[in-house]
Amino acid sequence: MNIGYYPGCALHGSSDDYEESLRACLRALDVQLQEIDEWICCGATAAHALNQKLSTALPARNLALAERGGFGEMLAPCPMCSMQLIKAQKALAGNEGLRREMSGIVELEVRGTTRVLNLIQVFEQVGLDRLKAALKSPLKSLSAACYYGCLLTRPPDVVEFDDCEQPRSMEAFLTALGAKTVDWSYRTECCGGGMTLASEETVLDLSHKILSNAAAHGANCLVVACPMCHVNLDMKQPDIERRYGVRHGLVIYYLSDVVGMALGLPESALGINRHFVGKA
């Protein structure tokens, strides 16, 4: 099975451990990723904060490149990128005038036919039973709090993935791979997103609440599928500890980390050693 791959700036920047992890894990499940040639930034928060037309144009450019590359489906592991791409794809598919306008702006003909998937959807295409079959070392040690963040399931009418209030798609994978999952309440609360640099105390406040709730429900680690959430929950844990005097000490795994570990891949191949908070 091979699908298009839109890494997004984060995965080629400070969150390249996420890319390393998901490439290793997907290679083990023989899923070939073909990176979209000449992809550009999806505009993230900045574009839709300051310029609505730009927030459609940038994803439109990427969609046009994917269509030119002949990709029917495309993985966008970062929920911010996948939400922006899906939003643009839906707007383009439903509006002839917008298609003409955007094709003009991005200088490429765009039809809005590419289906954008997040990492969980790719694993779902691989299928639970294939994962169970390939299970080498069950994750008995993990008591994981699955954290979806705010953009993976929202806005529901755009993203149309799992349930926007009570998502359970990651739990399904983890229990299948032998891990224990925690029933906690902050699955879809926001971690502060793109405010890491712009307004640090926002991130610290929100992430602290998330980590506290996870700990309160007996989780010893979090599983995320978003580079920005990982930065805020993992890299900022020392700052949280400095500010609130609480050492959470929760390891923040990417979903591909845990799946990779279950498949028996070594931690170094998955880039787990490059996280800020290591195993106690």
Partner: protein, 666 residues
């Protein structure tokens, strides 16, 4: 040649001002079939009607045309006048030369010419009017009440007290409906069971009320005055004639842990149970889904214990037929299911409140059971998770109601009142407890309602926040309710021990199917359609079928009872005469030329046409034909238009009349 009398009215000068009535009378008198034509200042006045009556006798008229206002105004008046003079009332026609002529055309010559043409139309129609007699339909003076809630009980008692037999069909093992499960009722806080149980007993013991409990309406045939109702008596596995209600069986039954539907899951019951102590009939029913004997032929203790030998595991559903003359639908309501799964595609659930995930998030009827003295906690307020006494209770109103995104844009009308009642009752039970209420608008329009809500706020110290709740999360044992107060414009977070959701009111399950059986309309949410919201609130467009209570729209107990009595009075009106009189302007089918293609039968909106056979006097089959049931036909005439061989015709608007009118316009 017919002898028609034309009476042209001046209507004071409303007509006379623009229509030259004298010239008109002259011209009309020359129309074919017109015996005499005259004009008078006020034909609808007593002297005017006297003139008409006198002319009918003097000129021996066989039809009358009144050229005046709209038939919607005075057709009945002039028909009665003609009847007094011995002329068949259906030989009277009206030409509307006021609204359709003098008031809208100011050119005198044109208005007069148009008036003449309109009168000519009515003369042509009058010439071909048939003498009709009102249709008499025999009435079975028995009423069917579907639903045993407070509305059904009130309707049944009123009808029975009026001297007519009533058949009541209740789907649950006992009557009482939702009200039986309430603790106390606003605004008087009198105990719900105390005011309802006597009425239930009255129903149980009323000589003229035949109660079918644990039964449903299977099929409805016939028409007003002559309904045939097939009732399915669901298998109860207990013979209520033999059973004395001693209770040995449900005390010996080993399976005590079944969720009690009456307590909405707050309490448990045995597999053989009586829903609540004051049940009418106070006889148990066996739950076939959990009883070990029925499932795998085990146990059977209750049968051994029963001294009256009333237990019968081989019991099956029985179909019973009842003949009734009128039907009152009082099927009540159910609460909107707050959880994820919805029974209709157009509805969405409330994932954000964690209902069904957090034990201490319950809906209003479950809270009623916790408050109720006969409830699972005997009136002591214990929260479902650990039974502790909740110190902080959050009440959230408009859960599902007024929410376009969830699919129910309407207001359920009673939640503001019972939420205030809950806050008040909670304070009375837990003196040091604090009630928090998130509301959008307080709707307390009834008698003493506003004062009741103010008392809950001012005396019982309930904190009211004006804003919706966005999310409920569980954090170290506490339910964190994140709401807002738009008056202050700030988010509000309350840590609660218990959260009560005031869920929206929806019609009871299965009302849509019942409506189709009764040929009654229902709206997009499933509430039954009344004939006219203001003028005929308890009637429906199916003759002889009345509605009352929450099945028609969300409403509280006082309104339901009032509507129930209204429905009962309508039933009494229907049974007043020993025969029902119906307008004779209905369709009829010429059975000689009908070729039984049944296009009319498919087109008739009232299912008033049935397949029939033409037989010779000695019973030899001649042919198939369509036949109109005079009781059901409302006279819309759709069958006449779809009949290819023009065998169907409509009295009062016969084909001959319409074509004669059109041809007179040449």
């Amino acid at each position: 040649m017919s002898r028609i009398g034309v009476f042209i009215c001046w209507c004071g000068e409303n007509i006379a001002r623009t229509v030259d009535v004298d010239a008109l009378a002259q011209e009309v008198s020359k129309f074919p079939g017109v015996r005499c034509a005259m004009n008078y200042k006020y034909v609808c006045s007593d002297p005017g009607q006297a003139l008409v009556r006198e002319k009918i006798a003097a000129e021996k008229l066989d039809a009358v045309v009144i050229a005046s206002c709209s038939p919607h105004m005075h057709l009945k008046t002039f028909r009665r006048a003609a009847q007094l003079a011995g002329l068949n009332p259906y030989k009277v026609e009206m030409a509307n030369i006021r609204e359709h002529c003098s008031w809208v055309h100011h050119d005198r010559a044109k208005a007069t010419a148009k008036a003449a043409s309109l009168i000519r139309l009515s003369v042509e129609k009058a010439r071909l009017d048939h003498e009709l007699q009102p249709i008499r339909v025999p009435v079975t003076r028995r009423a069917l009440v579907i639903g045993g809630g407070v509305a059904g009980i009130q309707a049944a008692l009123d009808i029975a007290d009026a001297g007519y037999e009533v058949v009541m069909v209740e789907r649950e093992p006992s009557i009482g409906g939702k009200m039986a499960g309430l603790s106390e009722t606003f605004p008087t806080l009198d105990c719900s069971q105390c005011i309802l149980t006597p009425r239930m007993v009255e129903v149980g013991q009323h000589p003229r009320i035949k109660l079918y409990s644990y039964s449903e309406v299977e099929r409805v045939e016939g028409y007003i005055g002559n309904f045939t109702i097939t009732i399915r008596q669901k298998a109860r596995y207990v013979d209520i004639s033999k059973c004395t209600g001693c209770g040995d069986c449900w005390s010996v039954c080993p399976l005590k842990r079944n969720k009690s539907e009456f307590d909405y899951g707050m309490g448990v019951r045995a597999s053989i149970y009586v829903p609540f102590p004051q049940a009418v009939p106070a006889r148990p029913v066996i739950d076939a889904k959990t009883c070990a004997k029925i499932i795998r032929n085990g146990c059977g203790l209750c049968e051994k214990k029963c001294k009256a030998g009333a237990i019968n595991f081989q019991d099956t559903d029985k179909l019973v037929e009842e003949k009734v003359g009128a039907v009152v639908v009082a099927t009540g309501y159910k609460l909107y299911d707050i959880g994820e799964k919805q029974d209709k595609a157009s509805l969405a659930g409330y994932g954000e409140y964690g209902y069904g995930q957090y034990k201490d998030v319950i809906d209003s009827l479950q809270f009623e059971r916790l408050l109720s003295a006969s409830g699972p906690t005997n009136g002591v307020l214990k929260r479902p998770s650990d039974g502790a006494e909740p110190k902080n209770v959050v009440f959230i109103s408009c859960v599902g109601s007024r929410d376009n995104a969830k699919g129910l844009p309407y207001c359920s009308k009673i939640c503001c009142m019972y939420t205030a009642k809950h806050a008040m009752l909670y304070k009375h039970k837990v003196h040091d407890g604090q009630a928090h209420v998130f509301y959008m608008d307080i709707r307390a329009g009834g008698k003493g309602y506003e004062e009741f809500v103010r008392r809950a706020i001012e005396q019982d110290g309930a904190k009211y926040y004006r804003g919706r709740v966005s999310k409920i999360t569980q954090e170290d044992g506490k339910l964190v309710v994140r709401g807002a107060d738009t008056l202050a414009g700030v988010p509000i977070t309350v840590e609660a021990d218990l959260v009560v959701l005031a869920a929206a009111m929806r019609p009871a399950d299965g009302v849509a199917e019942l409506a189709q059986k009764l040929n009654v309309g229902y709206d997009e949410f499933g509430f039954l359609l009344e004939s006219h919201p203001k003028l005929r609130p308890v009637e429906t467009n199916a003759a002889g079928v009345f509605v009352c209570g929450a099945c028609q729209a969300p409403k509280d107990i006082p309104e339901s009872v009032a509507q129930a009595s209204a429905a009962a009075s309508k039933v009494a009106v229907t049974f007043a005469a020993d025969e029902l009189m119906r307008e004779p302007e209905i369709a009829g089918i010429n059975e000689q030329t009908c070729v039984a293609c049944y296009a009319c039968l498919r087109a008739c909106p009232y299912h008033a046409i049935e397949q029939a056979e033409v037989r010779t006097p000695r019973g030899v089959f001649v042919k198939h034909t369509a036949r109109v049931n005079p009781g059901l036909c409302m006279g819309c005439g759709t069958c006449v238009a779809v009949c290819p061989s023009k065998s169907a015709d409509l009295e009062g608007f016969t084909e001959q009349q319409i074509y004669a009118m059109v041809e007179s316009l040449v």
